[in-house]
């Protein structure tokens, strides 16, 4: 049967399109794939009436390498380093999502200490991602360098810790099915505590610089608004969903790992505009700091991986599993089907960056072309994950 689209359904309440009046001509602009604000190679085919956007079609695939096909041809463990390359800003979150899915598929248990280490690393990843995202957003607004360099100064401390622990700053390849690759030493934990102790000062400084900045408020408030019904229907996740006031955080909903043990709140936006997305990210950094303080205080001694767990030559029983985590960019999920052999029959990544772009056109219609750059920047994407 053929379905007809009910344009009144929640997913389709698009703003009215502003059309060219009289005999004015529309100007078609290809923004990207080499536009400096596209965070990589991504193209938006934009039709403009004067400065107003009347049509915007995103074009993907410039960085497509068929990650899923590669992983289906490799063993379960061999896909782990490839997950680093999805969202290369947050490789540890990607590792966790994949490890969690395989653990669901096989019913593996993770030792206590490894769960704490995972939380510590994932929340540090979230802080450096959000700080950098805000820095990039401000860069696109014309604040050349300063906020971004403030963010990178803090990010440097965090990735230095990652490098010391995992051997790589960005391609960490650290987590394993049922645990972690190596233990965090006392020196690592001491360094992590020092970083966490310095972070509230950084967020205060960042906020003093930005939050009540007149230019930032003028450019961000009321721009790129998403309604909560549309946000849910379009499958948005992460700060993009919560900026519209939808209280949905996978850490609270699924309570994966040991997130039920920590006391933290889920920041929500009110208007669903760019400013709320900025604010939600700032507040999420503060909540991450709270989680880190608790985790670094409570972390018990013990093994980080059950010695009996086999990492190599893994052959899960036939079946399937969908596991997901709250990655900094949104809900990152892995869907695995096993046919009993040594490599997954189906390996699927649910990329939050791609799905958050579903409503890019809705947010941009009727806005000025200069705001498209801001709206796009506020979505927070990494092309390695969009195109896979």
């Amino acid at each position: 049967m053929t379905a007809t689209i009910d344009k009144k359904a929640p997913g389709w309440n698009r703003p009215p399109v502003v059309t060219a009046d009289g005999d004015a001509e529309l100007l078609e602009v290809a923004m990207g794939p080499h536009h400096p604000s596209t965070h990589g190679v991504f193209r938006m085919d934009v039709a403009l009436d004067g400065e107003r956007v009347v049509k915007l079609k995103p074009v993907f695939g410039y960085l497509h390498r068929n990650h899923e096909k590669i992983a289906e041809g490799a063993s379960y463990l061999a896909a782990m380093p490839y997950t680093d390359r999805l969202d290369y800003f947050c490789s540890l979150s990607n590792n966790w999502a994949y490890a969690l899915s395989v653990e669901k598929l096989m019913g593996l248990q993770v030792p206590e200490r490894a769960e704490y280490i995972r939380v510590i690393l994932a929340e540090l990843t979230r802080i450096q991602n959000h700080a950098s995202t805000i820095g990039f957003l401000l860069q696109e607004m014309g604040a050349s360098g300063t906020p971004l360099m403030y963010a990178f100064r803090e990010r440097e401390k965090i990735v230095d810790l990652f490098e010391d622990l995992t051997g790589s700053r960005m391609m960490c390849n650290y987590m394993r099915f049922g645990g972690c690759r190596v233990d965090m030493s006392e020196a690592h934990l001491r360094r992590a505590r020092e970083i966490v102790a310095s972070l509230p000062g950084f967020v205060d400084e960042y906020e003093a610089l930005l939050t009540s900045n007149e230019i930032l408020m003028a450019r961000c408030q009321g721009v790129g608004v998403i309604k909560p019904e549309l946000a849910i229907n379009a499958g948005l996740s992460g700060p993009m969903l919560r900026c519209s006031g939808v209280n949905y955080d996978v850490r609270k909903v699924d309570k994966y790992g040991i997130y039920d043990r920590f006391n933290f709140r889920v920041p929500l936006g009110d208007h669903g505009d760019i400013y709320d997305r900025y604010m939600v990210r700032v507040l999420e950094m503060r909540e991450s700091i709270r989680i880190l303080e608790q985790a670094l205080h409570d972390i018990p001694a013990g093994p980080v991986q059950d010695v009996k767990t086999k990492s190599r030559g893994l052959r899960p029983k036939p079946g399937e599993a969908y596991g997901r985590i709250e990655a900094p960019k949104g809900e990152l999920g892995f869907y695995l089907i096993s046919d009993g052999s040594a490599n997954p029959y189906r390996y699927r990544v649910r990329p939050p960056s791609l799905i958050n772009l579903t409503i890019l056109e809705d947010m941009c219609l009727g806005q000025n072309v200069a705001d498209v750059v801001l709206i796009f920047g506020s979505v927070d994407i990494v092309l390695g994950e969009v195109d896979r």
């Binding site: 997913g11 019913g107 379009a234 036939p318 599993a321 579903t358």
Partner: protein, 213 residues
């Protein structure tokens, strides 16, 4: 969360003629799924989204799976004449189960905080009958993901508002995520070919090019 059996019963109460079958998942994740027939798929999806007790308003993940033709052997009893007398003999008969393409949807509820509910639909075969109804009218989040499944698996989603390739370029012919996809071997230019690369490059040369060299 309601079990898949309860959800199946709720669907059948609302649509008595609908095809809804439970597919059990034997892995420890125990994420069982509902297989929907094409005829009522959009109506059932709308019901799952809007029913007050279910409210699966968040379609998180959409993906394709390719199942190839597979051969199954069955033991069949046949009557045969052995040594002049008719006897029942067991024989192994090989039968080909035709392959199909499948689309899998993972649904969650932001209201009841339940999920995942897995629903799946399959095509009649992998060759010419590859259509199934699109669920974009129900969940907008399927828009890009169904385009990706169309691109990489070749499922035709009827009712999709903008069914174009998502990741591959428009002129591309095949569907790379299919299990029997064969990579073209001439996509790379090798400036200094040698050994097997040389042999591969030579195989693509025209007769004129070979004569010139």
């Amino acid at each position: 969360m309601k079990t898949v059996e309860e959800i199946q019963a709720a669907i059948l109460a609302a649509f008595p003629a609908a095809e809804v079958a439970i597919e059990l998942n034997s892995s420890p994740s125990a994420q069982h799924s509902l297989r929907l027939g094409h005829a009522h798929a959009v109506a059932i999806a709308t019901f799952l989204r809007d029913d007050a007790a279910l409210q699966f308003d968040y379609c998180s993940n959409v993906t394709g799976v390719d199942w190839l033709d597979r051969e199954v052997s069955e033991k069949v009893k046949v009557k045969k004449i052995v040594d002049g007398a008719e006897q029942e003999v067991e024989e192994t008969v090989k039968r080909t189960v035709p392959g199909y393409l499948e689309a899998v949807y993972h649904l969650f509820s932001t209201v009841h905080r339940t999920g995942p509910l897995v629903i799946r639909m399959k095509t009649a075969n992998r060759v010419d009958q590859v259509a199934m109804p699109s669920l974009v009218p129900v969940w907008r989040s399927c828009e890009f993901q169904e385009r990706e499944v169309f691109d990489l698996y070749g499922i035709q989603f009827t009712g999709h508002p903008d069914l174009r390739r998502l990741l591959m370029w428009d002129e591309f012919k095949d569907h790379p995520m299919r299990r029997d996809y064969v990579e073209p071997d001439d996509y790379e230019y090798e400036p200094t070919p040698h050994d097997h690369v040389q042999a591969r490059a030579d195989a693509h040369k025209t007769a004129a090019e070979k004569g010139a060299a």
